[in-house]
């Protein structure tokens, strides 16, 4: 499976879900792949998200492109990563008159995006989920799910490794080496091995920046800029499970509008602001309080639930500096070839979300293969992934 010794060598910088899915995709297309990650795999944004397998309903009204991407990828991930999801569906609940007035547009937008949606009346919603706010007006059931935020992406790394990719955690990219001669072209990555202290170069025919919210820092090593805006949000995990389904507030996208049940805990998310540095995230007290108050508007018992953890995660949103909250930035993803800026052999994939990791990898792999003159079709839509435990085999 792994590329022959003459196949082009691609180095991926960044061991989050996108990097893992890209390693998997490129190895299946016959390339040689090395992935470097400065810490543990999935230690950046990937592992910190609330664990929602999106069906796209959240974006159906305002961001149709993201909604369609989500439902397509939702279906694919269920097929290629069986066992990595709680197949529990999601319920969007309208609590206020204003929410209820939004329901027809929401429901129609789901159907128009290809998202299976079912209208659920107040009485039925309370039978399905007895802990919901009894004031609720109506609800819509959609195929959301709970994913294991670390182990699902880890299956891409496990499968890539079994197929011949070299995965190097605790290996930090500290510089790009450039080709001698006219024009600027990346020739490899200089890395620091944190286990041995060794500093060495990994030669590459092409380097992919899959740094998520760290993409700007990695791009700077190659002397280019990418319009990635780290947009953190606060998440709150409480002890106890209050719903079977993922509970979403049926309203225009806002703060504290989701409760993701996961094992015996519930994760409430999330706020959104803009930050400069994903290495210095804060957990503001007022954001934590808002998560609990907004979550308890849907499930009143959350107001008195024991808090297990509070933390922040930085989304990698594509946009220009000058946006105010991050909500207005698209949740879709983008692959940047930096050749037009004068740097050859360097590509950035960023934006997106956990649910679309495979699609992001496919888009990036298409760009990589085109640049390297490789003709090979993407196989990741059908390729069933190895279990996460295979990574440690």
């Amino acid at each position: 499976m792994s590329g022959s010794s003459s196949a082009p060598h691609v180095v991926i910088v960044g061991g989050g879900g996108t990097g893992g899915a890209l390693a998997h995709d490129l190895v299946l297309r016959g390339l040689r792949v090395t992935l470097v990650e400065r810490g543990e795999l999935t230690s950046g944004t990937t592992g910190r998200h609330h664990g929602l397998l999106h069906c796209g309903a959240r974006y159906a009204v305002k961001d149709r492109e993201s909604a369609v991407e989500c439902i397509e990828e939702n279906r694919i991930l269920r097929a290629i990563a069986p066992g990595s999801f709680e197949l529990n569906d999601g319920l969007f609940v309208a609590i206020t008159d204003e929410d209820a007035a939004y329901e027809p547009l929401f429901f129609e937008s789901c159907l128009a995006s290809g998202i299976p949606a079912r209208r659920v009346g107040r009485a039925e919603a309370l039978r399905l989920e007895p802990n919901l706010n009894p004031e609720l007006r109506c609800a819509v059931q959609v195929p959301d799910g709970t994913m294991d935020a670390m182990r699902m992406p880890l299956r891409f790394f496990a499968t890539a490794k079994l197929n011949g990719a070299t995965i190097k955690p605790y290996t930090e990219a500290v510089a790009m080496t450039m080709r001698a001669g006219a024009g600027r072209a990346v020739a490899g990555v200089e890395v620091l091995d944190r286990a041995s202290g060794a500093r060495y170069e990994i030669g590459a025919d092409l380097v992919v920046n899959a740094g998520g919210p760290w993409a700007e820092k990695i791009a700077a090593l190659a002397g280019v800029e990418v319009p990635i805006q780290p947009s953190p949000g606060v998440l709150v995990a409480v002890r106890g499970r209050y719903a079977n389904m993922v509970i979403n507030r049926l309203h225009a996208s806002g703060d504290g509008d989701i409760v993701v049940p996961q094992r015996e805990i519930s994760v409430i998310g999330t706020s959104s602001w803009l930050a400069d540095d994903p290495d210095h995230l804060t957990v503001p007290a007022d954001h934590v309080a808002k998560m609990i108050s907004e979550g308890s508007a849907m499930i009143p018992a959350l107001a008195s639930a024991a808090v297990r953890a509070t933390w922040s995660a930085a989304r990698p949103l594509i946009g220009e500096r000058g946006a105010t909250s991050g909500r207005e930035l698209s949740r879709t993803f983008k692959c940047f070839d930096h050749a037009p800026e004068g740097v050859e052999g360097f590509v950035t994939i960023s934006g997106g979300k956990a649910t679309t990791l495979r699609a992001m990898a496919e888009a990036a792999a298409d760009v990589v293969c085109a640049k390297l003159g490789i003709e090979a079709a993407c196989r990741t839509r059908e390729y069933v992934l190895s279990p996460h435990t295979a990574y440690y085999a």
């Binding site: 230690s43 910190r48 569906d89 670390m150 944190r194 998440l235 930050a275 210095h280 953890a309 440690y392």
Partner: protein
């Protein structure tokens, strides 16, 4: 610092709070003959966790520090370690709750080390692999709720988060590398209770062994250490009852 957010509102701050803590952190790299401790000083806030502190140490004071982390809410199991000699998840252990001005941080015991605080989980998963444990189960939904149309049964992740804290705390694992250990035995008990395609007889045979359920000294350290309420010790006792019952039934069958 974050644009638009005042650091003074940061409930997980690691500087500028006026509550100084000295962290003694275990260090050992590949090739080192022995480990040692490095000291780092931080100021922490009421909600600052041991993991927040370690990430701040790596970001601001020593980029060579190796540690595992991912989810920050004790769901992934990666940041299990020994803090002040107790097995904990660093992400849900608040520094000030420890009540000590000096905090000692070490990797989990009884596993190979990648470096510093980062454990190589290969041994842990090798023990689990014997059981063939699956990731989700199909039981246990909120009993008060109905199932919506189109869903036959809600499924759930197993409670075990594969952190390795039970193996670290177990006094038998410390002295006997062949012992199956609490995580795998708890998985065996789950698999026998809800086989989902696995052969319960095969698993019962596997654990009814001097290196299986009978090797446990009933110290209950594993249940004490478990951050996810799996109760491996309770599972081991249940396996012994199952194994003894199966032996008794087989003796009765031979006599009749």
């Amino acid at each position: 610092m974050s644009a638009g957010i005042d650091p003074a509102r940061d409930t997980h701050a690691t500087e500028g709070t006026g509550v100084p803590i000295r962290f003694r952190v275990y260090r050992r790299k590949a090739g080192d003959r022995a480990g040692h401790f490095d000291e780092f000083a931080l100021e922490v806030a009421p909600d600052t966790t041991v993991l927040d502190a370690l990430v701040a140490i790596r970001t601001r004071l020593d980029p060579t520090l190796m540690l595992r982390h991912s989810c920050f809410h004790a769901s992934c199991g990666t940041c299990g370690m020994r803090v002040n000699d107790a097995e904990v998840m660093a992400c849900v252990t608040k520094v000030l709750d420890l009540g000590t001005p000096r905090v000692k941080v070490e990797p989990i015991a009884n596993g190979a080390l990648l470096g510093d605080l980062a454990t190589d989980m290969v041994d842990f998963y090798a023990r689990l692999a014997a059981i063939g444990r699956a990731l989700v189960r199909n039981s246990e939904w909120l009993p008060s709720s109905e199932l919506p149309p189109g869903i036959e049964a809600h499924n759930r992740y197993e409670s075990c988060i594969e952190c390795g804290l039970c193996l670290s705390a177990c006094p038998v694992v410390a002295t006997d590398a062949r012992y199956l250990g609490p995580a795998a035995l708890a998985a065996a008990e789950r698999a026998i209770g809800e086989p989902r395609g696995l052969d319960p007889g095969f698993i019962l045979n596997l654990i009814d062994d001097p290196q299986g359920a009978w090797r446990c000294h009933a110290a209950f350290e594993c249940t004490e250490a478990c951050p996810s309420e799996v109760d491996p010790a309770g599972a081991i006792m249940a396996l012994r009852r199952r194994a003894a019952g199966a032996r008794l039934r087989s003796i009765i069958r031979r006599r009749t």
